[in-house]
């Protein structure tokens, strides 16, 4: 049985003609018919209007909604994770601002959503001013620019992690010869950067195996800023919001020198 059949059955159970149902719900009888026989697709509000007009019970209502591909009615959702368990963007931003180390949130395609101030200092950027939200903030797309290749000391390590994720985390896995449209655009932007690094990325691609998705993973990051010095981090990537594909990146300084330099950086005047 299709959901259209279920809808018809629900109407017939309460003994309404198509015309009567159409009248109560403010639609035309032909629209009702087209939904019942599957020749047209309703919007969710339209379908809900029909279900309310029929006063079908919650179970039937939700089975029809789900069959038609829509979200069930909220009232009936059984509590799994408590609401608010995942971070909203605003909450995540507030949270990373409180971290004493560089911390930021990215999407699963490496787009930076928000970053605390010390992250911006380590990367020597002004996120809000220089990078508009969206693909402009894709870490991979900008990683070949000299301003980043000049200050990152373990570029190859970081590139390998990105490649392993691209190959392993994405359904169907990305292939260089046949990238998905989004990553094709990312790579196009990447190729406008330092040609030496573009070549390295392609060479690394071959030898880097895919990695299986895990709820948490680590990668090393080493930055060296002129006038500041070396800072070594282990980035801990962990869940921020699973349905929205957001992850926290905590760049944990891994020795005394890194903390000394991080403090020095915090006190020095902003360049950008």
């Amino acid at each position: 049985m299709s959901w259209g059949d279920d809808l018809r059955a629900a109407r017939q159970v309460v003994g309404l003609s198509r015309e009567a149902l159409a009248r109560i719900s403010g639609l035309s009888a032909s629209t009702v018919k087209s939904y019942e026989d599957g020749s047209r697709n309703p919007s969710r509000p339209m379908l809900i209007a029909l279900l309310y007009a029929l006063r079908v019970d919650l179970r039937v209502r939700n089975s029809i909604l789900i069959e038609a591909g829509f979200a069930p009615d909220l009232e009936s959702e059984t509590a799994g994770e408590p609401s608010g368990y995942m971070y909203s963007l605003e909450e995540a931003k507030e949270h990373v601002d409180q971290m004493p180390w560089p911390a930021f949130v990215f999407k699963e395609v490496f787009e930076v959503v928000c970053a605390n101030e010390i992250t911006e200092r380590v990367w020597d950027i002004d996120l809000e001013r220089e990078f508009t939200p969206g693909i402009e903030r894709n870490m991979l797309a900008v990683s070949s620019r000299p301003r980043f290749t000049d200050i990152c000391e373990n570029w190859d390590d970081m590139a390998r992690v990105a490649i392993a994720i691209l190959k392993g985390h994405h359904r169907g896995a990305e292939q260089l010869e046949q990238l998905s449209p989004y990553f094709a655009e990312v790579m196009q932007r990447f190729q406008t950067g330092n040609p030496q690094y573009v070549g390295r990325f392609l060479a690394l691609w071959q030898g880097t195996p895919a990695r299986d998705p895990k709820i948490r993973f680590l990668y090393p990051a080493v930055f060296n800023l002129p006038g500041i010095g070396r800072m070594s981090f282990i980035s801990v990537v962990n869940t921020c919001n699973e349905p929205e594909g957001l992850a926290f990146n905590d760049w944990v300084p891994t020795d005394a020198e890194s903390w000394v330099n991080l403090e020095k950086l915090r006190r020095s005047p902003r360049r950008r």
């Binding site: 697709n41 919007s43 969710r44 339209m46 789900i66 038609a68 591909g69 829509f70 979200a71 069930p72 408590p82 608010g84 368990y85 995942m86 971070y87 949270h95 971290m99 004493p100 180390w101 999407k107 699963e108 395609v109 787009e111 959503v113 392993g168 985390h169 994405h170 359904r171 998905s180 449209p181 989004y182 990553f183 094709a184 655009e185 299986d212 998705p213 895990k214 709820i215 948490r216 680590l218 282990i234 801990v236 962990n238 869940t239 921020c240 919001n241 699973e242 349905p243 929205e244 594909g245 926290f248 905590d250 944990v252 300084p253 891994t254 020795d255 005394a256 020198e257 903390w259 403090e263």
Partner: protein, 270 residues
């Protein structure tokens, strides 16, 4: 912006024409147009086909699905919960062994499942030898054994965090008795450390509010070890395995002094 505008925007970002997208998704260009300008409603299947064709990332994808009234999904880029996505206790133990800072895994009752070497050095315990798995490894108990508690600055702070978590994990009457026999046993064990800890815990219990359960939690912790000095941490609690109620605890050193202290601790004999 309507979801149709969003759909158009993601298509334009990846530089596809309507015709090209239509070809990829197996629909007509006119259909794509009608969705973008809101003159027709897609089925969820149809919309998903378009989003799949563009491999739109989950955040934008779900914004569009929800905008169009459909259920979001988490199954696009890397199905969220494939087998192996969560850590088994053994994988977790291997994972924390590699970390240069103190890290351990505990369950939702605060029982320590495993702890890396550095953690055990700070606490001055040999977990395997001294504490059998189970209630004897409950942090409330461990943290109130005098030899550990004496090193610990800010006991109140950590106890408050624990209380806030217990209260939110066990909604109901706001008294310790109603938590059942397990926590009664924990209190019993705590009292072995001295009556002071239980009394203080009960005092804090009454004026600590439950926290909002979140996928991640942070709290400060400070230790002072003889011959090592002050160790200041920002503890980060993150998911390890939800089905098993396990969390990672990363005790992240927040200054150079702490890293120097950890080096001393690491290099001296156990």
């Amino acid at each position: 912006m309507t979801w149709g505008d969003d759909l158009r925007a993601v298509r334009q970002i990846v530089g596809l024409s309507r015709e090209a997208l239509a070809r990829l998704a197996g629909v007509s260009a006119a259909t794509v147009k009608s969705y973008e300008d809101g003159s027709r409603n897609p089925s969820r299947q149809m919309l998903v086909a378009l989003l799949d064709a563009m491999r739109v990332e989950r955040h934008a994808r779900n914004t569009i699905l929800i905008g169009a009234g459909f259920a979001p999904d988490g199954e696009f880029l890397g199905p969220v919960r494939l087998p192996g996505y969560m850590y088994t206790p053994m994988e977790a133990e291997m994972h924390i062994a590699e970390l240069p800072w103190p890290a351990f895994v505990f369950n939702e009752l605060f029982e320590v499942v495993c702890a890396n070497e550095l953690t055990q050095r700070i606490w001055g315990v040999d977990l395997e030898r001294d504490f059998p798995p189970g209630i004897a490894r409950n942090l409330l108990f461990l943290g109130s054994t005098p030899r550990i508690a004496e090193l610990f600055k800010g006991w109140d702070n950590v106890a408050r965090t624990a209380i806030a978590v217990i209260k939110s994990n066990h909604p109901g009457p706001d008294d310790l008795q109603s938590l059942g026999p397990y926590f009664a046993d924990v209190m019993q064990l705590m009292s072995q450390g001295g009556p002071g800890y239980v009394a203080r815990f009960l005092e804090l219990w009454d004026d600590t509010l439950p926290n909002d359960p979140k996928v991640r939690l942070t709290f400060p912790a400070v230790f002072k070890l003889p011959e090592v000095g002050k160790l200041s941490f920002h503890c980060l609690v993150t998911t390890c395995s939800e089905s098993e109620g396990l969390s990672f605890n990363d005790w992240i050193p927040i200054d150079a002094e702490t890293w120097r202290g950890l080096e001393i601790l690491r290099t001296r004999g156990s």
